[in-house]
């Protein structure tokens, strides 16, 4: 029983991180209709900015995250303005190639600027907390709590505010949104900013339990793609649910089936879900 609870908590921790990354990816998919391969690189840059703000500028962890959110958000916007916006009328393959190009560029840049070393991000919340025989660390509790808070805020923003609903409108139908007077340029910029911010939050929260290095984006990005496919491309609730499904499958599957097969279990699940619902769990009808 204790084991089950501990593994559920482990699944919740990692699922929260997956969901945050997948949310950014799915938002951009809604706008661009291409998978943004560079999202993992934004995640990596987010980790580095937070780390640099803490070690070089001496900022507190939380303040460093705020700076990171802004920087990576702007970087994401810059990416949209310089690369994806000029390509908006080209065939989708060109966006994909561009996205891969940005990914390679950012990774090489990070290695040039900060070196290839693995770096440790200190956290002021390192204490180990034992509750009912479960081992939690404060950092992990913060990961879960912050991720859920961010998701609730995002959901409220998209559903209940006017600006938020313009993002949904544009994801549903770009021309339609333009016809009713939505400034698609502004919405695209905003969406990219949010996606970058989410990547920065995800990386900054996770880095203290892992390490910061140029290839760290690869750890999560492939999984984020699986998640948005499971959840339905472009779907917000799908990304959240998919993230937790994958997190729990990994931890529970590793415990009760086999840890060597945990990735297989996740991908079998993907196949099962896609067989039943080819468009993903929260597929959108029509277009």
């Amino acid at each position: 029983m204790e084991l089950l609870l501990q593994q559920l908590f482990n699944g919740l921790t990692i699922g929260s991180v997956y969901s945050l990354v997948a949310l950014g990816l799915t938002l951009v998919y809604g706008i661009l209709h291409i998978p943004n391969f560079a999202h993992g690189a934004l995640y990596m840059v987010g980790g580095y900015i937070t780390l640099m703000m803490m070690t070089n500028a001496g900022l507190h962890y939380v303040l460093a995250i705020v700076v990171s959110i802004i920087v990576v958000g702007l970087l994401s916007v810059l990416m949209e303005r310089l690369v994806f916006h000029p390509l908006r009328d080209s065939p989708p393959i060109q966006d994909k190639v561009a996205a891969i190009g940005i990914l390679l560029f950012l990774e090489a840049l990070a290695q040039l600027l900060w070196g290839a070393d693995y770096r440790q991000m200190p956290t002021p919340f390192g204490e180990v907390v034992n509750v009912f025989g479960l081992t939690l660390t404060l950092q992990r509790i913060i990961i879960v709590a912050a991720a859920i808070a961010v998701m609730i805020f995002l959901y409220w923003f998209l559903k209940k505010t006017f600006i938020g609903s313009t993002i949904i409108a544009m994801a549903q139908n770009r021309e339609g949104a333009a016809l009713v007077g939505i400034n698609t340029n502004k919405v695209a910029i905003l969406t990219f900013f949010i996606a970058g911010a989410l990547a920065a939050i995800g990386a900054s929260l996770t880095s203290p339990i892992n390490l910061v290095f140029p290839g760290m984006g690869h750890l999560v990005i492939l999984k984020a793609f699986v998640i948005i496919i499971i959840g339905g491309m472009g779907s917000i609730p799908g990304a959240i649910l998919g993230g937790y499904i994958l997190g729990f499958t990994e931890s529970i599957g590793a415990t009760y089936i086999s840890s060597d097969y945990k990735d297989i279990i996740a991908f079998v699940l993907l196949i099962i879900i896609l067989s039943a619902k080819p468009q993903g769990i929260f597929s959108k009808g029509g277009a």
């Binding site: 699944g11 180990v128 339990i209 390490l211 290839g215 750890l219 931890s251």
Partner: protein
């Protein structure tokens, strides 16, 4: 018409490239001749840090040697290091190897990972180049390849002393958590039977994928459920240190057997203190090693790169000097067979101050004979142990 033009441009481009390549390999102006030394290792991607460390040692030696140059059969030579990135992928190592031989005519190619070395061994005897292999995988020298030199000690020598130490100090129950790489699997397959033959029990076995796992809590929770006395872990130093840290967070208080790729001093940079690693047994970190040339090397390396060197840098530095001595003894800078035959002479003539490690001889299969030593963490300090 367009097609013809296209073909013309392609062939023109090809000709230009060929010409550039030729002019490069005929190399050198006038008096000083150049020996190209090849390197293929991970310089980008997940293992880039490791690749850079190996290359740093190599570069340092090449720069030092080039200050004076060296003389072979009355002619003065300098080294030219040609380093290519293979992203840790054996197929890339193979194509890099071909490229180095064809474009740069390198008689010697360094490669720091077992997969890449195996790929080079497919054609190195035919293309006549010497592989200088930095990997502790014993297979490398057991394949009977005549033009391979393995620098570090094979990990086979660590199995017994590591196991004995951990078993005596902590107990008989081991949980094995090697990385998923081939090297990790081979290590596990070597240590697990030994552990069991000597009365130990392997209570849990799983592998860690450092390229996919963000968090190790899940895997460790399962391993620790079986209440092991010893954890067998490994991989690059820093992520391995994270595994050890998370095991402690989950309440593990036993010892660690650490695969030779990870170094205790580098792990300490992540854990902040040796307390977390109490009871760990692993290879001796270079900075705790004392051979005639070690101290000088460490000082120079710190000055140049602003950090402590690991054994991969030290071994590459040493190997470069050994090769130069071997070329001098062979009186030849092109023929890999001759150079290989004179490696022993190279080891014998290695200047005292370049002896970052003491290597008395090279075996017939190409393995350097290293004195095996191990390091343990006892009461928060590194304690060195002799192994016979």
């Amino acid at each position: 018409m367009r097609k013809v033009k296209f073909l013309f441009i392609i062939s023109l481009a090809f000709a230009v490239v060929m010409m550039a390549a030729c002019s490069q390999s005929s190399g050198g102006s006038g008096e000083e001749k150049v020996v190209n030394i090849g390197y293929s290792g991970p310089l980008s991607g997940a293992a880039a840090f490791y690749g850079e460390n190996t290359l740093n040692g190599l570069k340092m030696a090449v720069d030092e040697i080039n200050k004076e140059g060296f003389e072979v059969e009355g002619e003065k030579y300098k080294l030219n290091l040609v380093s290519l990135d293979d992203k840790y992928m054996p197929n890339e190592t193979a194509s890099n190897g071909k490229r180095l031989v064809q474009e740069n005519k390198t008689p010697i190619i360094f490669s720091p990972h077992s997969g890449g070395i195996a790929a080079l061994q497919v054609f190195n005897e035919m293309d006549n180049f010497l592989i200088v292999a930095y990997s502790s995988e014993p297979d490398i020298t057991e394949r009977g390849n005549k033009l391979t030199v393995r620098i570090p000690p094979s990990y086979a020598g660590y199995i017994e002393p590591f196991s004995t130490y951990a078993m005596d100090r902590f107990g008989k129950k081991m949980a094995a958590l090697p990385p998923v790489t081939q090297y990790g699997k081979d290590w596990a397959e070597a240590i697990i039977p030994y552990w069991e033959e000597n009365g130990g029990e392997v209570v849990h076995q799983a592998s860690i994928d450092f390229s996919k796992d963000t968090d190790f809590f899940t895997i460790l929770t399962n391993a620790l459920k079986q209440d092991p006395d010893v954890l067998f872990i490994g991989g690059a130093s820093e992520p391995t240190a994270k595994v050890a840290m998370q095991a402690r967070e989950l309440g593990f208080d036993g010892g660690f057997i650490i695969m030779d790729q990870a170094k205790l001093d580098e792990m300490k940079n992540v854990t902040q203190s040796y307390d977390v690693l109490e009871g760990a047994v692993g290879v001796t970190p270079l900075i705790h090693t004392e051979y005639p040339g070690t101290a000088e090397f460490i000082d120079k390396y710190r000055e140049l790169y602003n950090k402590d060197p690991g054994s991969e840098a030290g071994y590459h530095y040493l190997a470069t000097y050994v090769l130069v001595e071997a070329m001098k003894a062979a009186g030849n800078v092109e023929d890999a067979k001759l150079i290989r035959e004179h490696i022993q002479a190279g080891l014998d003539q290695l200047p005292e101050d370049k002896k970052v490690y003491e290597i008395p001889s090279v075996e017939d299969d190409g393995g350097f004979v290293n004195l095996i030593r191990m390091a343990t963490v006892e009461d928060g300090e590194i304690v060195l142990k002799e192994v016979d």
